[in-house]
């Protein structure tokens, strides 16, 4: 039976777009036959703003990019600055950065998992389970720096301050409980028939497609390709800890979910090893209040929960960066939207958007 094609604006205010993201979709009945993403609703011109701020002030702008994992944004930026200035932070600071970045990764993946299940139709309950644990991570961040979302914990040459005494017992009890909670999620979700029938084989991509489209992070690893900057290009103290890089097989929605769950377990293991290895010491280099790196440029990158997050910084010797270009994984991971979504039903599209786990603050900047 033939039906007339219909163009629908999906978003920008739709709960499953996870922010203000608009898709102009062409529908044939319930099947998506064409799609065009429209960005820019959250564009704040962060790169332009960075040109008018000092190197330290720019850290606050990075918090507001991927606001679900501000720690890794801070880390990517300060690493680029340190590369530009050719300084190395004290070892204790590096451990603290890795611990907080991995906590951030767990917090971000909890949001990714929770919203995926929410988009599947399991309204609110699984999401609140995930938020229960995320809340404890935010409390840990509050102990570290006083903020919960916009952290600004890291500084060029170290971190803002040493940990308070109550941080370590709280971290310990979180690590113990989180193992149990991950088992709890998996017992509810991983073998769940509804989850399997809705996600297995849906919107799968191959490794070649993903690499050609510069897709990184869990989406690339779900296709079965082992590419994690923490192991291929170790920064900070990642070469002192042992962990595996989980990969999927089919690159479909289910594998993306599974890779995130497995990554959270690895993050817990990384934090535990760091807690064992960390020793007292300085947490910050004595750098001047206004940093003036020599003229030059540096590209620093980290493995953020969404993929490769890079900062390309150019300095002309003044107190603010001449150019601060961000390589946003969330934006670039959306390159293959057409290949993933066209041909599937609207309901599958919503699940795919959930499994891509993008963040509009980072897409639009």
């Amino acid at each position: 039976m033939n039906s007339e094609l219909m163009t629908v604006n999906f978003g920008p205010q739709h709960p499953s777009t996870h922010g203000v993201f608009r898709l102009r979709i062409t529908l044939d009945g319930e099947t998506v036959v064409g799609l065009e993403p429209v960005f820019g609703y959250l564009h704040r011109g962060s790169e332009k703003l960075a040109e008018e701020r000092t190197f330290t002030q720019v850290i606050t702008l990075t918090d507001r990019m991927d606001y679900t994992s501000a720690m890794t944004n801070n880390q990517a930026y300060v690493l680029s600055c340190e590369k530009l200035m050719e300084v190395t932070p004290p070892v204790r600071a590096q451990y603290l950065r890795v611990i907080s970045a991995e906590l951030s990764r767990i917090a971000s993946h909890l949001i990714g998992t929770g919203f995926l299940i929410n988009d599947l139709g399991a309204f609110i309950t699984p999401l609140m389970y995930c938020f229960r644990e995320r809340e404890r991570i935010l409390e840990l961040f509050e102990m570290l720096c006083g903020a919960r979302i916009t952290l600004t914990y890291m500084r060029v040459g170290g971190v803002f301050q040493d940990t308070p005494a109550e941080f370590w017992p709280a971290l310990d009890s979180f690590l113990t409980d989180m193992e149990f909670h991950l088992d709890e999620y998996e017992s509810l979700l991983t073998g769940n028939e509804i989850l399997l029938s809705r996600t297995v084989g849906v919107s799968s991509i191959t490794t070649d497609q993903a690499l050609n489209a510069s897709i990184t992070g869990p989406i690339l690893r779900a296709t079965g390709f082992d590419w994690d900057l923490r192991t291929v290009d170790p920064y900070e103290v990642y070469n002192r800890v042992n962990f595996e890089v989980p990969t999927g097989e089919n690159g479909d929605n289910y594998d993306r979910y599974l890779v995130r769950i497995k990554e959270m377990r690895q993050s817990l293991s990384i934090i535990k090893q760091c807690v064992e290895q960390i020793e007292p010491g300085k947490v910050r280099l004595d750098l001047p209040f206004l940093i003036r790196p020599d003229s030059g440029e540096a590209y620093g990158r980290v493995e953020s929960p969404k993929g490769e997050l890079g900062f390309y910084l150019i300095s002309d010797g003044s107190i603010s960066p001449y150019r601060c270009k961000v390589r946003p994984p969330s934006l670039i991971n959306l390159t293959l939207l057409n290949e993933m979504i066209v041909g599937w039903k609207v309901a599958d599209m919503i699940v795919t958007l959930g499994s891509l786990d993008f963040n509009m603050g980072e897409v639009d900047r």
Partner: protein, 150 residues
């Protein structure tokens, strides 16, 4: 570790077919003229010794006297990376060849540079603004766009 290649190593990878007259040698990056870019990218993507299969990042920079497009490339096979730079002179009608046909990942990044810096990428299938709306005037990331409030 991912090793960054210097310009001499990149020139070696490009082989004899490549006309090395038109490039400046410098330390960590290779300057390529806009006419040569398609040729260079084709060699870097497709030859076995280079196999730069991952286009990490494309950045545009406004140096006032000229514009620069910077390509960060990575090879997941050989675990090496390189930096290519293209200088474009003038303030209007800037055109750079698109690398979309080699790496689809250039799609949104080239559109972003066109939107914010006004460098047109020839050969891109969907060259239009990405963040700002179609009727927007000017390209806000240029140094002369306006004095921003402090």
């Amino acid at each position: 570790m991912i090793r960054q290649l210097n310009s001499n190593e990149i020139i070696k990878l490009l082989g004899k077919d490549f006309d090395s007259q038109s490039i400046d040698e410098s330390k960590n990056e290779l300057y390529v003229s806009a006419d040569q870019l398609t040729n260079v990218c084709s060699i870097l993507k497709n030859t076995k010794q280079a196999s730069f299969d991952l286009l990490t990042c494309i950045s545009g920079v406004d140096y006032v006297e000229y514009f620069q497009v910077v390509y960060h490339l990575t090879s997941t096979i050989h675990k090496h990376s390189c930096v290519l730079k293209v200088n474009l002179f003038g303030r209007s009608d800037l055109v750079c060849p698109s690398v979309y046909k080699f790496w689809q990942g250039a799609d949104f990044q080239e559109r972003e540079i066109w939107d914010l810096l006004g460098i047109y990428f020839e050969g891109h299938p969907n060259m239009k603004r990405i963040f700002l709306w179609d009727g927007f005037e000017g390209h806000p990331l240029r140094r002369d766009y306006l004095e921003s409030p402090r």
